[in-house]
Amino acid sequence: MSRLRACFGVQFPAFHLNVEMDVPMSGITAIFGPSGSGKTTLLRCLAGLERAPQGFLQVGDEVWQDEKVGLCRPLSQRPIGYVFQEPRLFPHYNVRANLLYGYKRVPSEERRIAMEQVGAHRIGAVLDAPVAAHEAEYGLTRLECHGQSLFVPPQAVAVGQVMRVHILSSDVSVVIGRTGCPTSVLNVLEATIIEIREMDQASVDVRLDIRAPLVASITRKSLITLGLKPGQRVFAHIKVVALNEELKACSTGDWAKKPQAPRMSVGEISSSAE
């Protein structure tokens, strides 16, 4: 049975870490501990982002690091994935080029997904919603959406102006109770399930009625866990909406003179950094 063996000693000015581990390569290994105990440092050592002066790392049959002989394989030659704690998009590339960056550098026989599969599942809904109010207190604009409210970042348009709202199915999730799970999602709309359509092995599309059509893309697992059926009353969590620039541009009135708000509006305030 192949195993991962590691031994690291790292000295930072205010922190030092000594780890010895021997875990199976199969399955999932979780590392937990209080914050500051060195979880990230350990992962960085495993990835090769931090070089422990007396480190040793063996992955299966291969030795990736052995400081006794001065060996340390660079991260670019370690077939691993590393999810950083914060987004690290390349700012000079667009979304597609960001996705292709890693794809192009993985040998074709090692690729597990084709580029065509990425973003192929782009369906969504388009709603026309008039501006109901500018909530200066919260710095948000409230749109009237068939009797419910949709909050978006402040828009430089007059009250009553109709905005076209695009909502991708991948940005909508479904929950059963409004209060059941605490959320940072700003827009929670009441909805009725019309139809559940199986898409592939992993995901399903849930067609919702909010007195206008809406689609949510959820995993098969959440479908089973939640026990969703057509006709059921649920809540739709809308994480991201995109507002149409053109409709905004033909607005008149005082609001039109204010600076243009960002085109992509993010319902989840905490992740609204562009």
């Binding site: 990835a47 090769g48 670019s76 590393y82 950083f84 390349f90 550098r105 993985v106």
Partner: protein
């Protein structure tokens, strides 16, 4: 009277060649050095930083004097290889590299500090080799730093006088540059010629700085 004499034109040509080569050498040498300065935790860092910044405060004659000694027949190169680079174009390039070093290193260093290590680590984790990551991720994000470094390095080399006179002398066609040409013109009382060359330098320098400030304003931090 011609606007620029043949001597002036040859000085212009020497100046442009000198500035181009100096910037090229500095970009090659300066990129790794600036990168090291931006990211090292070594205690040598302040010493190296001070050494790099030295030409800003040092009188050019002092710098020129030491380089002249080092490149002369009794310097290390002269003794070992019997190679005298003083009063040659190559010697002038070497001297200019030292003289303009802070103007190339410092913009690069601040650009690299601003980029940080995060994009680099992300690129490594996506299997980009260090060189690949530098070319495809770091240098485009640090583009503004490169533009500043190239323009400032070029302009500063064009404006050097003291070091050129000390190390290069003022040999027409070889080491006579525009700034020393002005000096020669004034010395022999050719004020009209001195005016022409000086005005050229003045306008050129202003345009260069204008370009830097316009690009810094216009250029997005991350060119797409």
């Amino acid at each position: 009277m011609e606007v620029l004499t043949e001597l002036d034109l040859s000085a212009l040509w020497v100046t442009i060649r000198l500035a181009t080569m100096t910037v090229a050498v500095l970009l090659i040498v300066g990129t790794p050095l600036a990168w090291w300065l931006a990211h090292t935790r070594s205690r040598w860092r302040p010493i190296v930083e001070a050494a790099v910044a030295l030409p800003i405060v040092l009188p050019p004659t002092v710098l020129g004097f030491y380089i002249l000694i080092a490149l002369g027949p009794y310097g290390p190169l002269g003794r070992v290889a019997d190679l005298t680079l003083a009063f040659t174009f190559t010697g002038l390039v070497i001297a200019s590299v030292f003289y303009s070093m802070p103007f190339v290193i410092q913009p690069l260093q601040s650009a690299f500090e601003a980029v940080g290590k995060a994009p680099l680590e992300a690129a490594w984790s996506l299997r980009a080799s260090p060189w690949d990551a530098f070319v495809t991720v770091i240098s485009p994000i640090a583009l503004r730093g490169y533009i500043s470094a190239i323009v400032l390095g070029f302009a500063h080399t064009m404006g050097e006088f003291g070091v050129v006179l000390m190390v290069g002398g003022s040999i027409p066609g070889q080491t006579r540059v525009l700034s020393t040409t002005i000096f020669e013109h004034v010395e022999v009382g050719e004020y009209a010629q001195a005016h022409v060359v000086s005005a050229f330098m003045l306008i050129f320098s202003f345009l260069v700085l204008l370009t830097v400030y316009i690009t810094n304003r216009r250029f997005p931090i991350h060119a797409s």
